[in-house]
């Protein structure tokens, strides 16, 4: 038995002549569409039971009534009216929900801008400057590994650096730049944005890198030969061709930050209000219809953002 046959025997005893199982196959064949259903059905059922139906329940419950301790399954707009309480009376000032969403959008914009900047250049470096495949894989892996570790740990990790007696503060005091520890480093909007950028730049790097490696290198050479400067090549060739990745990455980052309540909670010292945080607070107070109403509002806003962005690019084509 030569080498290849040995391997084949190991990998697939059924295919070696003489073992005969291939011939002994059952003559009845399932219809292809039935097989597809069998294959895709289980996943569809999981999404149905744990994603689609729950979403429907969120919408239904948002129109239910509630009292201090339970749900009352009767139609009521209270979840919404409670949420928008004071929005008209306080005009022209913003009501609580308006302020909260404004704050969330601001955080969202800051994190989006920073992750896009960092993600773009990291992806650019990996795609265009790292020539060897092995190095490219190794460095991509280096960027991916933190994604497989715990987000909470990566948040807590900032405490010894940014805390009152943290490395940054003691460093600044030693160099004489400040006399007293800076308080806004931790449990502030600054630390929230820092942690979100730290956690989610990965979601920008991957899709942008994916778009970039698909760019035909001869296009860049052609631009160079035609006399384009590096900057012109970047703006007129690379950025347009990397746009799908940029949009997909942006959708990821924006939806994550819009709904985030954990990073904002932990890094904001549970003091910063945000769209996701309201939902959590309402659930903890057992006001499920109000929580659901907030979830519906958040869903609509997220959906609007995604629709706007996917106008720019056909997501399905890019996968």
């Amino acid at each position: 038995m030569d080498m290849s046959e040995e391997v084949l025997q190991q990998a697939s005893p059924g295919l070696i002549p003489g073992s005969g199982t291939a011939r002994a196959a059952k003559p009845t064949r399932l219809s292809p569409s039935f097989v597809s259903w069998l294959q895709a059905g289980p996943m569809m059922l999981v999404f149905l039971a744990f994603f689609l139906i729950p979403l429907v329940f969120v919408v239904i419950v948002s129109f239910w009534d509630y009292n201090e301790y339970q749900l009352l399954p009767a139609f009521s707009g209270r979840g919404y009216t409670d949420t928008f309480e004071g929005c008209i009376a306080q005009l022209p000032d913003l009501c609580t929900i308006g302020k909260t969403y404004l704050k969330t959008l601001k955080l969202c914009f800051l994190v989006w801008a920073m992750t896009l900047f960092i993600g773009f250049w990291v992806a650019y470096f990996l795609a265009f400057h790292v020539k060897s495949k092995t190095w490219q894989m190794g460095l991509s892996l280096l960027c991916t590994i933190p994604f497989w570790t715990s987000n909470v740990i990566r948040m807590i990790a900032w405490i010894p650096l940014l805390g009152r007696n943290g490395l940054v503060n003691s460093g600044l005091i030693k160099t004489g730049l400040i006399n007293h520890p800076v308080e806004w480093l931790l449990f502030s909007e600054f630390s929230v944005v820092l942690a979100l950028v730290h956690l989610f730049t990965f979601f920008m790097v991957v899709p942008i890198f994916n778009s970039m490696v698909r760019i035909d290198k001869s296009l860049i050479e052609a631009a160079y030969d035609a006399g384009a400067t590096g900057f012109q090549t970047l703006v007129n060739v690379i950025i347009p061709l990397a746009k799908p990745g940029i949009v997909i990455g942006s959708i990821f980052v924006i939806t994550i930050v819009m709904g985030d309540f954990i990073t904002i909670g932990v890094m904001g010292g549970q003091q910063i209000a945000a769209a996701g945080k309201i939902i959590e607070t309402r659930v903890n107070a057992l006001q499920f219809p109000a929580a659901a109403a907030n979830a519906v509002i958040l869903l609509i806003i997220t959906f609007l953002i995604i629709t706007m962005m996917s106008r720019i690019v056909d997501i399905k084509k890019e996968l």
């Binding site: 290849s4 046959e5 391997v7 084949l8 990998a11 697939s12 059924g14 295919l15 070696i16 002549p17 199982t21 059952k26 292809p32 569409s33 597809s36 259903w37 294959q39 895709a40 289980p42 996943m43 569809m44 999981v46 999404f47 744990f50 994603f51 139906i53 969120v58 419950v61 749900l71 250049w121 470096f125 990996l126 460095l139 590994i145 933190p146 497989w148 570790t149 715990s150 987000n151 909470v152 740990i153 405490i159 010894p160 650096l161 007696n165 943290g166 490395l167 730049t201 590096g230 709904g259 954990i262 932990v266 549970q270 996701g276 659930v283 499920f288 979830a295 869903l299 997220t302 996968l319």
Partner: protein, 292 residues
């Protein structure tokens, strides 16, 4: 076209190095700090070096019942991993042909990935609350709850891991040569045999990748578990609970232990993938050698 490396290479290389430092620096700081001496605090400088805080976790005298939460998270992670691998591979195979409801499944997966976790989590918790109420009203007044680690908790984790699994399957089959399977069929293999002996061995490294995603995403999952896990906590939930109350390095020790599990799983998976790829490269192609 160019001689040597352009200046932009060095600028971006420094940028990349800074990014890597930004990624890993803080994590390494807490791994180091979890080996504080018994008198150590939450920040540098180190106050002696010991395994005091890590040992304290395992003695059960510490802040949480680490053992129980650890076992729960591990159990859930392994189940999520297995289900994710099986369902993703199956659905990935289905997507190689056209079938009805294809785009419904695709968009469900994408939506499940990008709808904010808190909404999915709230939805699942409402769903199970309503189921509980129905059971109490119609069948059994003493019924407690159907919510739990392996019902609502498992479902919540799957809404997060399955989209990743499916997208990885797309990537796999995008570069899969269907002629290999046709060849198997021409040799008389049944669809199952063609899958088991031809397709599966080829895609196995990537399938292990799906398993890696399945386990690690579940092991560290927080946002979706938060409302949907029921009465018990997973390890990350315990850890999050501690962030507001704890003032000594227990929390770093717990973080180090959780990360150690993550890194063990990552290395095992990557090691296996590496070995499989090597084997495929060395023995895989017998093209032109006269098969069987």
């Amino acid at each position: 076209m160019k001689e040597g490396r352009p200046r932009s290479f060095y600028v971006l290389a420094i940028f990349f190095a800074a990014y890597t430092l930004f990624l890993y620096g803080p994590m390494i700081a807490i791994y180091v700090l979890s080996f504080q001496g018994p008198q150590g605090g939450l920040t540098f400088p180190m106050n002696g070096v010991s395994t005091f805080w890590i040992a304290k976790l395992f003695q059960g005298t510490g802040i949480v019942d680490l053992g129980a939460a650890f076992r729960r998270s591990l159990l859930l992670g392994v189940i999520v991993m297995i289900v994710t691998v099986v369902l993703s591979v199956a659905a990935g195979m289905a997507f190689r042909r056209k079938f009805k409801a294809q785009s419904i499944l695709f968009y469900s997966a994408i939506a499940s990935l990008i709808v904010p976790s808190i909404i999915t989590s709230l939805g699942i918790s409402l769903e199970f609350r309503i189921i509980d109420d129905l059971i109490k009203a119609h069948w059994n007044e003493n019924f407690e709850t159907s919510m739990g680690l392996l019902t609502s908790g498992l479902g919540a984790h799957l809404t997060w891991t399955l989209p990743f699994g499916l997208l990885i399957m797309f990537a796999i089959f995008n570069r899969f040569d269907p002629r290999l399977e046709e060849a198997a069929r021409d040799l008389g293999a049944t669809p199952w045999q063609a899958f088991r002996h031809v397709v599966l061995p080829i895609i196995l490294p990537s399938v292990i990748g799906i398993g890696l995603f399945g386990f690690t995403l579940s092991w560290d999952e927080l946002a979706r578990s938060s409302q949907a896990i029921g009465a018990v906590n997973t390890l990350p939930l315990d850890l999050q609970g501690l962030t507001t109350t704890v003032t000594n390095p227990d929390i770093y020790a717990l973080g180090t232990v959780i990360s150690a599990v993550s890194f063990t799983v990552i290395s095992l998976a990557l090691g296996t993938i590496h070995v499989l790829n090597k084997r495929q490269a060395a023995k895989g192609s017998d093209a032109g050698k006269g098969l069987v």
